[in-house]
């Protein structure tokens, strides 16, 4: 029996930040190895999922990596505008993570 668990119950860190002035990177770090492995197994968070959530073509998702030593999933996208340029809304890129907080992960009970 699967249960939909809000991601906020599963993570220790979920953040966005500039990775240089032209890229925006998301770090999702899970509470522990077991939780991380369950989330990986659910295959909810993928490169395609990130592209869809942020309404960008998949080619703009530059990296998508599951990083076992940190129990983390990391994705990096092209910034809509380069940091601080005309049209900027978030110079540090530190508030672009919010839609990820709505993710629900089906986890076996």
């Amino acid at each position: 029996m699967n249960k939909e668990v809000p991601i906020t119950d599963l993570v220790k860190v979920l953040r966005s930040k500039n990775a240089g002035p032209f890229e925006l990177t998301f770090d999702i770090i899970f509470k522990d190895k077991e939780t991380y492995e369950k989330v990986k197994k659910s295959k909810v968070i993928t490169k395609e999922f990130i592209a869809k959530l942020y309404q960008i073509p998949i080619i703009k998702v530059l990296y998508f990596v599951e990083f076992d030593p940190a129990n983390a999933i990391k994705a990096t996208i092209v910034r809509p505008v380069d940091s601080g340029s005309i049209g900027e809304t978030d110079v540090y890129g530190a508030q672009q993570h919010a839609p990820l907080l709505d993710i629900k992960i089906p986890i076996e009970e």
Binding site: K17, I29, V65, P69, A72, P80, S85, V91, Q96
Partner: protein, 452 residues
């Protein structure tokens, strides 16, 4: 057992740190005190306009502790990315603060200045020779980009800081530097593993951020040994645990698997983060894959426009429902009223907080649920006068626009300020974010020795 100890007092010079934490760090007898003073995080304006990120007083306060302890205990002090963006103006600013401290504290030392600002003619030659390529999602560099930039810096690695140490510097003020460099320079000079040295530098450059409770405004100590390193915050109220150190390895990087710099690529794929004590973490397995070709990162900023903004609130629910239509009306009115001005010369931007002000086009939620909105009307134009003029026109048009069903005929906007329009000056852009391939180490980063 061989061991070299590196003290990072703070994640950003001028952010401040507890004196007690610093004393604890000095008690551990560090071999070097190193600090990062820079970032591109605050946007291109700092490099373009030649201003700092932190105040002079705050920088002076942090540096006073570091220089006094360094001189007293004969520990080298290395400051990287001086003044924020690490260009000539930033280096001079930092140096003048250091000289002021030396006078007041009556301390003397040999200071190395490592210059990071790059001559435009040098870059043009490099570009013509095909030695410059884009770094990340940016277009190919052009001669015009080089000419347009108000300032261009190159980002140095450990090589030049090691050279300054070999020249006998007690204090190194380095221009723009790769974040881990200041922390890794002495260890690499002493023959420690460069991969571990750079990875440790990556953790230390943010002060005590890789601890819990994490902060940039406190001290972190790194202990580098033959085949691993240990990190530990010097404030007993904080502790590093494997997850905080592993998490920090990901921070502000595109890929978690590599730390990229002039020395090559540090591969951390098979790295392990283990508990060493309750407050310290042991890291091993990071390996430097040295690159044969030395690529140096370039950062340049150019002035692109002038900006005027106007902040206003909207509380009327009839208007909130039609906010997109109101925006459209303002845009059309502006372009028709200023039809003598080319639309390439200005841009009107609506930041609508309560709708998508924070995320813009990345915002997945389309409906407005808020009972009030904050409008930030932004106009950028080729000069300040034009930005002011168009902003005033756009603001008054929106203030009095008779949208459908309007009953509040006195005005549409609540201004928190008088005057409502705020000219904010020049707008810059990072117009250079490229790699230059160097043929020899003396092409860039000249070192100057000054007796203070």
């Amino acid at each position: 057992m061989n061991e070299i100890r590196v003290l990072s007092p703070v994640g950003m010079l001028g952010y401040g740190f507890p004196e007690e934490s610093f004393k604890n760090g000095i008690d551990k007898k560090p071999h070097v005190i190193a600090v990062d003073a820079g970032s591109t995080d605050a946007g291109p304006h700092k490099l373009g306009a030649g201003v700092g990120i932190v105040s002079k007083e705050a920088t002076k306060k942090d540096l006073t502790y570091m220089l006094k302890a360094g001189c007293k205990n004969k520990i080298p002090v290395i400051i990287g990315s001086a003044g924020g963006s690490g260009a000539e103006v930033h280096l001079n600013w930092t140096t003048s603060i250091i000289k002021e401290i030396a006078r007041e504290q009556q301390i003397h030392f040999k200071m190395a200045l490592i210059h990071a600002e790059v001559e435009k003619d040098y870059l043009k030659k490099k570009l013509t020779a095909g030695k410059i390529k884009p770094l990340g999602p940016v277009p190919e560099l052009t001669i015009k980009n080089i000419e347009d930039a108000t300032r261009i810096v190159a980002v140095m690695g450990t090589y030049w800081q090691i050279k300054a140490l070999e020249m006998g510097a007690d204090v190194i003020v380095a221009g723009r530097s790769n974040d881990p460099a200041m922390f890794a320079a002495l260890p690499i000079k002493m023959g420690y593993d460069p991969g571990l040295s750079l990875h440790m530098g990556k953790i230390l450059e943010c002060g005590a951020m890789a601890s819990t409770p994490g902060t940039t405004s406190d001290c972190m100590m790194g202990y580098l040994r033959d085949d691993h390193f240990i990190v530990e915050p010097t404030n007993p109220k904080r502790k590093s645990i494997p997850s905080t150190v592993a998490a920090h390895t990901l921070y502000e990087k595109s890929s978690p698997l590599h730390i990229i710099g002039p020395e090559g690529v540090v591969d951390i794929t098979s790295c392990s983060f283990e508990k060493y004590t309750d407050r310290a973490v042991k890291v091993s397995g990071s390996k430097l894959m040295e690159s044969k070709i030395i690529n140096i990162k370039l950062e340049g900023a150019s002035k692109v426009a002038f900006r005027t903004i106007c902040i206003a609130g909207v509380r009327d629910p009839i208007m909130i429902k039609q906010i997109d239509e109101c925006e459209q009306h303002v845009r059309e009115s502006v372009s028709s009223y200023f039809d003598n001005i080319s639309q390439d010369h200005y841009r009107v931007i609506f930041h609508i907080y309560g709708k998508n002000g924070v995320m813009g086009e990345l915002e997945p939620r389309k409906e407005i649920k808020s009972h009030e909105l904050c409008l930030l009307l932004e106009v950028v134009a080729k000069n300040q006068e034009l930005a002011n003029t168009i902003c005033a026109f756009a603001r008054s048009t929106l203030m009095h626009y008779s949208y459908k069903g309007r009953v509040a005929t006195a005005g549409n906007l609540a201004f928190p300020y008088a005057p409502s329009d705020i000219p904010t000056g020049e707008v810059y852009k990072f117009n250079i974010h490229h790699l230059v391939e160097i043929d020899n180490f003396d092409e860039l980063f000249p070192i100057e020795i000054v007796e203070v």
